[in-house]
């Protein structure tokens, strides 16, 4: 999961948890607030009543031992009662209690207060119906909830905007430095703009690492290029010496036979060196891609070059490539070598009287060329390694090759952005499928 997505998810979840907690706590919270507010109100009322009573005297309200009572007649929301208390208590409480008012039992929050005037003990009760108190609870809860939701949404939005902004350099680093990176890279280093030091560090570290890798690659390529170049001159001298010795008139035939053996060994050295040089030249992009050729003609040229090998093994080779397919912006020499090596392998690893099918077809935007043989095949675990240099699998064929045929194919294909897919069935054959990018082939006469 992407960091940005994770952050958004965390933000949202944490806020949802807060909302749920708040919603659960809200009724109790509001009730408590309401209650304390009511209690304060009751005390305030009590003080007021006591003040009133102390003015005109208690007897204005209590006559003949008859208590005073007042309440809203209709809704019975509040009431005040003043009475003589026969018990000599000292009550000062606020509790919830039921009262019977005109036949209705109503729950009230009641403040009870004892006070003395002269020797007489009185009791004052002020009540407020619980229903009235609770009336405000629901709207209060709703308002609180709405404000909360609004704020949460606002913070989620703010978090989202900020994290997107702050994470943008990271996305840029991933996109340009990691996903979009190709070897070898010739574009200069471009710093990713960020004020976050961690990202700055990441960017520069990735850049340094890539540079190290590039340098190593470059050194390896230079080494192969220099080594193979340097080897060419001594090989050339040896080859000339052998050729001249072979021509000498007094040279006995046995010596000539040994000279031929030397020549063969020298050829082997020459082939390896030339091949390595070719691969390094391709990797150093020393070849131009300016040729435009008919694919079918190219394959027939390869066929002509290689037909003697087909004849030797009596292999039947079928070529079915649409005549109108043209390769553009390619290097003919390299593609010739690509097909030569693939078809040569198809012959080399084929059985006598075997078959090779070279077919072309289109698939969506791509042009596919398949070279299928009826040879010994490659086991599944070896397929990923067949393009490695100097990798040889078939011991019996060791005499004829040195394991650079497919690496040549691979570097030529990479150079032209041609993808290679290999499917193989040990014992029954191998198919190499070349997938040409759409801009490489046009289907025109």
């Amino acid at each position: 999961m992407k960091l940005g997505t994770k952050l958004t998810l965390f933000n949202t979840i944490s806020k949802v948890v807060i909302v749920v907690l708040f919603v659960l706590l809200l009724p109790t919270l509001i009730r408590d607030i309401n209650q304390s507010y009511t209690d304060n109100w009751l005390r305030h009322q009590k003080d007021k009543v006591l003040k009133i009573v102390s003015g005109p005297g208690i007897n204005n309200y209590i006559q003949n031992g008859e208590g005073y009572g007042s309440y809203n007649a209709l809704l019975k929301e509040e009431y005040v009662s003043l009475d003589v208390d026969s018990l000599n208590e000292n009550i000062d409480t606020i509790i919830n209690e039921n009262r019977l008012v005109e036949g209705d039992t109503i729950q009230y929050r009641i403040l009870s207060h004892n006070f003395k005037v002269g020797k007489q003990n009185y009791i004052l009760e002020i009540g407020k119906s619980i229903d009235t108190i609770n009336e405000t609870t629901t709207p209060l809860q709703n308002i609180a909830l709405e404000i909360l939701l609004g704020m949460i949404l606002l913070t989620i939005l703010a978090d989202q905007v900020y994290s997107t902004y702050v994470l943008r350099p990271l996305g840029l680093i991933i996109k340009t430095k990691l996903i979009g990176h190709k070897f070898p890279n010739h574009t200069p280093y471009k710093k990713v703009k960020t004020s976050t030091t961690d990202f700055e560090y990441l960017d520069i570290s990735i850049h340094k690492m890539i540079q190290t890798i590039e340098n190593t690659f470059q050194k390896e390529r230079e080494f192969i290029s220099n080594a193979s170049h340097e080897l060419m001159t001594p090989i050339s001298i040896l080859q000339s010496k052998i050729e001249n010795m072979f021509e000498e008139e007094d040279m006995p035939d046995e010596t000539k036979v040994r000279l031929i053996e030397m020549q063969k060994i020298l050829n082997r050295l020459k082939s390896i060196t030339k091949t390595l040089l070719l691969i390094s030249q391709i990797e150093n992009e020393q070849f131009l891609k300016e040729d435009s050729i008919s694919l079918s003609e190219l394959i027939h040229e390869v066929y002509e070059e290689i037909s003697i090998r087909l004849q030797e093994k009596e292999i039947n080779c079928e070529i079915d490539i649409p005549a109108e397919w043209r390769l553009n912006h390619v290097n003919k020499f390299l593609l010739f070598n690509l097909f030569f090596n693939l078809i040569n392998n198809a012959i080399k690893y084929n059985k006598e009287h075997g078959e090779i099918k070279i077919t072309g077809h289109t698939d969506n935007k791509f042009f596919l060329v398949a070279i299928a043989d009826t040879g010994i095949g490659i086991s599944a675990e070896r397929v990923p390694h067949i393009f490695n240099r100097f990798k040889k699998f078939t011991q019996s064929l060791q005499q004829d090759s040195f394991g650079l045929g497919l690496p040549i194919v691979k570097s030529i294909a990479d150079f032209h952005h041609i993808r290679i897919e290999v499917t193989s069935e040990p014992g029954s054959g191998t198919t190499f499928k070349l997938i040409f990018p759409a801009d490489l082939i046009t289907a025109q006469f």
Binding site: T233, Q239, Q281, K348, I408
Partner: protein, 227 residues
Amino acid sequence: MNVLIVEDEKALTNELEIFLSNSNYICDVCFNGASASEKIATNLYDFILIDLGLPDYDGLDLLKEAKKYNPEAACIILTARAEVNDRIKGLDLGADDYLPKPFSLLELQSRMQAIMRRKFGLKHSVVMLGNFVIDLTNRTISYNNTPIGTITKKEFDLVAYMLLHKNRTLTRSQLSEHIWGSVVNDDYDSNYIDAHIKNIRKKLNVYSSPDWLETVRGLGYRININH
């Protein structure tokens, strides 16, 4: 024919000199660019073989000098630095051919002969071999004025190469280097030359036995022409 060999590698220069002298060329050798520059300015040559990798001189500069003071000479570039650009530059500057090291001495000679043929406009080059007529210009082999159509391009190349180096035994390596030299592949020891020769014999035998095409046991093949 006068040949100037400019090559700093003495061992190679030596072999080139032996080989070309045996083929009746008169050789002059230089191991560095400075002395080559002097010789180019004073003597006239038919061929100048220039190694591009000289320690003291840019081989391409030498080529320019050669074109100036020795306009008649054919220049062949010999180099181990087979950079693709070098080749284009060399040919642009007027080199007649370009031979990357390592090369076969026979290949060098055949290139030199090809240049001579081009230069002197040998329009029609025809060789009689027994009752066969080999037309090197039109690339055909015919018998009693009937062209033998079954001979392939590769087969003709082989016959022509052997004909060029007539009365000389050519090894399989030399022959395969000539006809498959431009292919870079995995094989280093292919004996497909035998198969080609077998095919050539079979195709010619239909008309007459090609006695002039000799298999030299254990060594290779040769075309014999008796003068």
